[in-house]
C-alpha cells in the first residue's frame, strides 16, 4: 500500500527567484516526514510538486520506482489536505468524503453500498459519525479539517500530503488534533509528508524533519538529531531559542572578550565565529575556569521554568538562561555562568 517517496534533484524557478534548488531526499514507506521552514523557503512548492500540482524544471519525483511525470493526477493517487481544506461547499460531509470514490471511472467505481460502508468507516476514523448530513459551512474549523483528511484518505492514497494541516486552527484544537493525527498515522500507516512553519508541531509529530531554507535542505533527520546536533547556523537559530555569542576560536577554545568560555572540542574552526548556546545550557556557577561574568537584568516566568536575562559586558543583547534551581539571584546581582553545551559556526 504505502510507497517509498523519492525526490531527486528537484529544481523549480519562479519568475524572479528560485523556489527549489536541487532538493533530494527519500521518505520511507509509512514514514511521517515534516517539511519545516520559514515562509518562502520552498516547502509548499515542494509539496505541490510531489502532488503534481506544480511542474518541476529539473529533477524527478518517484513513487517506489515509478517516475510520477508519467502518471496523471488520478493515477498518482495523492491524498492532499489543503491549508484552506478546500471542501466542496455545495456537498454535505458524506458527499465530500465520497467524492473521490464516485469520481472513479465507471468500471472501477465501487457499488453504492460499498461507498456507504467505506465513508461510514472513515467517518468513524475521523470521529465525525453522525455529522454526515452537515454542510461544511455548519462545521467548526477542526471538524472541517478532519473532513478534508477523511476525503483524502477515501481514495486509498499511496502518499498523504498535508499543507499546514493545523494552520487555521486555534492553539487548543491544534494540540488535540496533533496527537490525534499521530495516532491516526500509526493506525493507517500511509507515507506522509506535511508542511509546517511551526517547529513544535514538526518536532512532536514527525519521524523525521527536513528543514528548508531558501529552496534548499539545510538538514534532515530525526527531531532529536536536528534539535541536538544542528548542522548549520540557520538550523541553530531556527529551531528553539538560542543565544548567539561572537567568539574567537584558538587552540581548541572559544574566546569571548579575550576570555576563554567554551572548549570547542571536535568542532574544527579557527578565527572569528559564532557560539550558539541554548538557555538551558548555561549554568550559574561559583567563579571558576571558563566562566562568564554578568549582572542579572531581569527575571521572567516562562511556563514551568524561570528565565534569567543577564547583561554581559561586550554583548549587545542579554544572555538568556534557564534557571534550574529554585533559588534565584536578585536583579542587579553579579553572577558567574558556565556554558555546558554549544555549537560553533
Amino acid at each position: 500500500m504505502s510507497v517509498t517517496l523519492v525526490i531527486d534533484q528537484a529544481e523549480k524557478q519562479f519568475d524572479i527567484y528560485p523556489a527549489l534548488r536541487g532538493v533530494s531526499f527519500t521518505v520511507e514507506p509509512g514514514e511521517l516526514m515534516a517539511l519545516l521552514g520559514p515562509s518562502g523557503s520552498g516547502k509548499t512548492t515542494l509539496l505541490r510538486a510531489i502532488a503534481g500540482l506544480e511542474q518541476l524544471d529539473h529533477g524527478r519525483v518517484l513513487f517506489d520506482d515509478v517516475d510520477t511525470r508519467r502518471l496523471s493526477l488520478r493515477e498518482r493517487r495523492i491524498g492532499f489536505v489543503f491549508q484552506s481544506y478546500a471542501l466542496f461547499k455545495n456537498m454535505n460531509v458524506f458527499e465530500n468524503i465520497a467524492f473521490g470514490l464516485r469520481a472513479r471511472p465507471r468500471a472501477k467505481r465501487p457499488a453504492e453500498a460499498d461507498i456507504r460502508r467505506r465513508v461510514g468507516d472513515l467517518l468513524d476514523l475521523v470521529q465525525l459519525a453522525g455529522l454526515e448530513k452537515r454542510f461544511p459551512a455548519q462545521l467548526s474549523g477542526g471538524q472541517r479539517q478532519r473532513v478534508a483528511l477523511a476525503r483524502a484518505l477515501a481514495i486509498e492514497p499511496s502518499v498523504l500530503l498535508l499543507d499546514e494541516p493545523f494552520g487555521a486552527l486555534d492553539a487548543k484544537v491544534r494540540k488535540d488534533l496533533r496527537s490525534w493525527l499521530r495516532e491516526l498515522h500509526g493506525r493507517t500507516g500511509h507515507t506522509t509528508v506535511f508542511v509546517t512553519h511551526d517547529q513544535e508541531e514538526a518536532l512532536e509529530l514527525a519521524d523525521r524533519v527536513a528543514i528548508l531554507n531558501l529552496g534548499a535542505i539545510e538538514q534532515i533527520g530525526s527531531p532529536d538529531a536536528v534539535y541536538d546536533q544542528p548542522e548549520s547556523a540557520f538550523v541553530c537559530e531556527f529551531l528553539g531559542e538560542t543565544n548567539k555569542l561572537p567568539v574567537h576560536i584558538a587552540g581548541g577554545q572559544a574566546f569571548f572578550e579575550d576570555m576563554p568560555v567554551f572548549r570547542s572540542n571536535g568542532q574544527n574552526h579557527l578565527g572569528p565565529a559564532s557560539l550558539y548556546v541554548r538557555p538551558q545550557h548555561i549554568k550559574l556557577v561559583d567563579n571558576g575556569p571558563l566562566s562568564l561574568q554578568g549582572v542579572v537584568a531581569h527575571i521572567r516566568r516562562n511556563g514551568a521554568i524561570r528565565r534569567l536575562e543577564v547583561a554581559v559586558k561586550g554583548y549587545a543583547r542579554r544572555l538568556e538562561l534557564d534557571l534550574a534551581s529554585a533559588v534565584a539571584p536578585a536583579v542587579g546581582e553579579r553572577v558567574a555562568m558556565k556554558i555546558t553545551a554549544g555549537h560553533i559556526f
Binding site: 502532488a51 500540482l53 493526477l73 492532499f80 484552506s84 478546500a86 473521490g100 469520481a103 476525503r151 477515501a154
Partner: protein, 283 residues
Amino acid sequence: MSLVASEVRWRKPSILPGFGLAFGLTLSVMCLIVLIPLAALVIKAASAGPADILAIATSPRTLAALRLSFGAAFIAAIVNAAFGLLIAWILVRYRFPGRRLIDAAVDLPFALPTAVAGIALSAIYAPNGWVGSIAEAHGFKIAYTPTGVLVALIFIGLPFVVRSVQPVLEESEVDIEEAAALLGASRLRTIFRVILPAVAPALLTGFVLAFARAIGEYGSVIFIAGNIPMISEIAPLLIVIRLEQFDYAGAAVVGMLMLLAAFLLIFLINLLQAWSRKRLGDV
C-alpha cells in the same frame, strides 16, 4: 394594570445608534418612490370595477401581450444565464489581449439609451440588415416578430448575469479545483459537480435581475418588435396604447397584472435562492 408590561418590544436593543432615524428615512423614501405610486396604480385599476377588470384581464389581446412579455423575458433570462456565465468564466479564467475592453463592453447595455439599442438592433436584424438578410435567405425572420423581441431582451439583460456571477467566480478558490483533480475527478465532473453548484446562487440572482429587467423593457423592444397586436405586441406597449386612448383604467389594469405576476415570480425565485444560499453558507 401597568401599561409598560404590555408594551410589545418589536425591535431588539442594539448598540448601533440611529435605528429610528435610518428606519424612518428608509420607510419614507420607500413610500414616496415605490409604495405610493404602486398603491395609486392599484386604486386606479380598481376604479374600473370588477366586471371591467375581468374583461380587460381576460381579453385575448391583453393575454397575448402578457404571454409574450413574460415568455420572452423568461427565455431571454435563460439564454442570458448561459451566455452570461460563459462570458464571466472567460473574463475571469483566461488572460487574453482585449480582455479589459470586453469587460468594459459588457456594461454597455446598461449605459446605452434603450431606444438607441432598439434602433441599432433593428438595423442589423431587419430583413435588409447584415444579419437579417442572411436569416432571410434561410427563411428566418428576426426583426418584427417575437424573435426580435427576444433578441432585444437578451441584449439588455446580459450585463446582469455577467456582473453577478463574475465576483463569485473570481473568489472561488483554485484549491477546490485542484482538490477535485487530485481526487481523480475529470474536468467535466469538476465543472458540473464542483464549480457550477457553487456559482448557482449568484447565477440565480443574475437570472432574476435579467428576467425582471426584461419584463419591464419597453424602449428597445418597440423598435424591433413590429408591434403587431396578438403577435409581437408586448404588455408595456399595450399600456402605452391604452394611455394614448385615454383609457387610464385599462392601462392600470394591465399594469397591475404585470405587477402581480412579476412580484409572484420574483418572490418565488428569491425563496429558491435563499434556500440554496443557506445550504452553501456564505456565498
